[in-house]
């Protein structure tokens, strides 16, 4: 078996038994990148030089006595909106084309402490705004299952890199589905933890009340392992929750007999691809055969989630992105005075979707419209959150499709922002409610495109989500298929 195909758990075993070295592992990953990256284009920056050094250091640590940290010597791809000290971090935006962070994000700092190996920084929709990675300011990433199609977004580079075995695992960020939707479309596992579970320190902000970092992995065990490494309170992020994180792998393999899974009627609506609906219904039957108990639930405000999200996310973005003014970092266009410099810098530095969202958010927050849009959306957010609280009185986990369709063709929705926004219809409520959710592969369309199944849990109950997802994964073999690259 080629080493680049390994999961984190498999790599750990082989590294610790010294059957392979960290250098052999990263070399294999880079050989894979050499073979497929010109077609997939998952990365913005490859850190081959640093990776070699990190692998050598890991090798020395593994040889010395004592137990290894879980991620020691394991090659990771990191979405390009997480600050890596001394390594270019662009958010796929021309306005940050030359930004080299002087500090390290908490998540990568934790992985550093464990001795991980950074493969590179992955492509994304500019500032994480998009569902196809077509909004990258640099290039388009392709879906490894069909190079004419998009990988999903905004963490499309990370999901494609995992699916194409260009890394062992990856980090993504999820504001409205940006981990789960690309994971579903690329046939890998993606988890958005509970809001506050993982520190956002060093994650370039898009919509601060919704953003959350999480793992994109080849299987559910790796998702739990990586969550172990990155979860926990961080004094540098005042919204990180002061709760201790359990060992998430403990949930794997627990019997799911009697667990109640909620099936919300609002997620099986007209407009959903029949092949997706069929795969998800089959998956629910599979879960039932494993002992889970399906229960019909209702999330009555689901139909309002997309509108609520795009008011709140764009409002927060218009404020967060005010910092890109050509003064402190990144691109600057010269102007005769300060105002002209600001305006030229922003107009030339931001791409069309980012400008559109800044305009929307500025409009929603502007005098005379604040009450009608922003405050109204915050009230509906309360209703959406209550929907989940109500549903979770009678079920342990909610099961839905991750995305209403499989991967669409590049360019198909690029000219219609509203259609693009509606592709997030099944993932957005989760961010508004702050609950955790995970997407796991649950089948393929007749065109051989992966379909994702979403498990949604209660606040801070990633364990039940992982428990069910693992049981499902072990009973199926969707995750074992590889794209033909």
């Amino acid at each position: 078996m080629e080493l680049f195909r390994l999961t984190v758990a498999e790599a750990r075993k082989l590294l610790d038994k010294r059957e392979i070295s960290a250098t052999e592992l990263i070399n294999s990953v880079y050989r894979r990148i050499d073979a497929v990256e010109d077609r997939v284009r998952a990365f913005i920056t490859l850190t081959k030089g640093q990776a070699a050094g990190m692998a050598r250091n890991a090798g020395t640590k593994i040889k010395s006595a004592g137990p290894s940290s879980p991620m020691l010597g394991v090659p990771f791809a990191v979405k390009d909106n997480m600050c890596t000290k001394g390594i270019l971090t662009t958010c796929a935006s021309k306005i940050l084309f030359n930004f080299t962070p002087p500090y390290e994000s908490t998540v990568t700092s934790r992985l550093n402490d464990e001795g991980y190996v950074l493969v590179g920084k992955t492509n994304m929709d500019e500032f994480a705004m998009g569902s196809s990675t077509e909004n990258s300011g640099f290039h388009v990433t392709r879906n490894p299952w069909d190079l004419k199609r998009i990988p999903g977004g905004s963490s499309g580079g990370s999901a494609a890199a995992v699916a194409a075995d260009e890394c062992i695992a990856a980090l993504g960020s999820d504001t409205g589905g940006s981990i789960r939707q690309p994971a579903a479309l690329c046939g890998v596992v993606g988890m958005k933890p509970t809001y506050g579970r993982v520190s956002r320190y060093g994650l370039v902000a898009f919509a601060s009340s919704l953003d959350q970092i999480g793992p994109i992995t080849k299987d559910v065990r790796d998702s739990a392992l990586l969550l172990n490494s990155i979860a926990g309170h961080d004094p540098l992020d005042s919204t990180s929750a002061p709760v201790s994180a359990p060992d998430f792998t403990a949930a794997l393999g627990r019997d799911i007999k009697g667990l109640r899974i909620g099936i919300p009627g609002e997620y099986f609506i007209e407009g959903i691809d029949p092949e997706v609906a069929r795969a998800v219904r089959d998956a629910i039957r599979k879960l039932e055969s494993l002992g889970a108990v399906p229960v019909e639930v209702s999330l009555p405000h689901t139909g309002y989630a997309v509108a609520t999200y795009y008011v709140l996310a764009t409002s927060e973005a218009s404020s967060n992105l005010a910092r890109y003014d050509g003064v402190k970092y990144g691109f600057r266009a010269e102007g005769k005075d300060l105002m002209e410099m600001y305006m030229k810098t922003r107009s030339q530095g931001f791409g069309a979707e980012v400008k559109r969202r800044i305009m929307l958010g500025t409009y929603a927050l502007s005098s005379g419209y604040y009450e009608a849009y922003y405050r109204k959306a915050l009230q509906v957010r309360t209703l959406i959150k209550k929907d989940f609280e109500e549903a979770f009185k009678s079920v342990d986990v909610i099961v839905t499709p991750t995305s209403p369709s499989a991967a669409f063709k590049a360019g198909e929705k690029a000219d219609d922002p509203l259609q693009m926004y509606l592709s997030d219809i099944f993932t957005i409520s989760v961010n508004l409610a702050g609950v955790p959710a995970l997407s796991v592969p649950c089948g393929f369309t007749p065109d051989n495109l992966p379909v994702g199944l979403q498990f949604i849990g209660k606040h801070f109950d990633e364990e039940s989500v992982l428990q069910l997802a693992y049981a499902y994964e072990q009973a199926t073999d969707w995750h074992k298929r590889d794209p033909d690259l």
Partner: protein, 95 residues
Amino acid sequence: MKIKKGEIEHIAVLARLYLSEEEKDLFGSQLSSILGYMENLNKLDTEDIEPASHVLSLHNVMRDDIPALSLPGAEALMNAPSSTEKFYRVPKIIE
């Protein structure tokens, strides 16, 4: 709903963006249709509903005031398009 061109121009200035005539037309029609979709929210009666300021029950987060080193000036300025000594350089502010 339809947003007028003057309104687009006003919002663009607030957002510190220059828009080309083409962008004004395009954003005008796209924003009109997106905002039209957002008006679905008005179908809901939210009279007595508290706005969700935060999804978890976190309140003010305080920490001990412990002196620590901050980022050295040279590193903080490392990414600046223009700087001098310990300062960011910008175009003339005062007429």
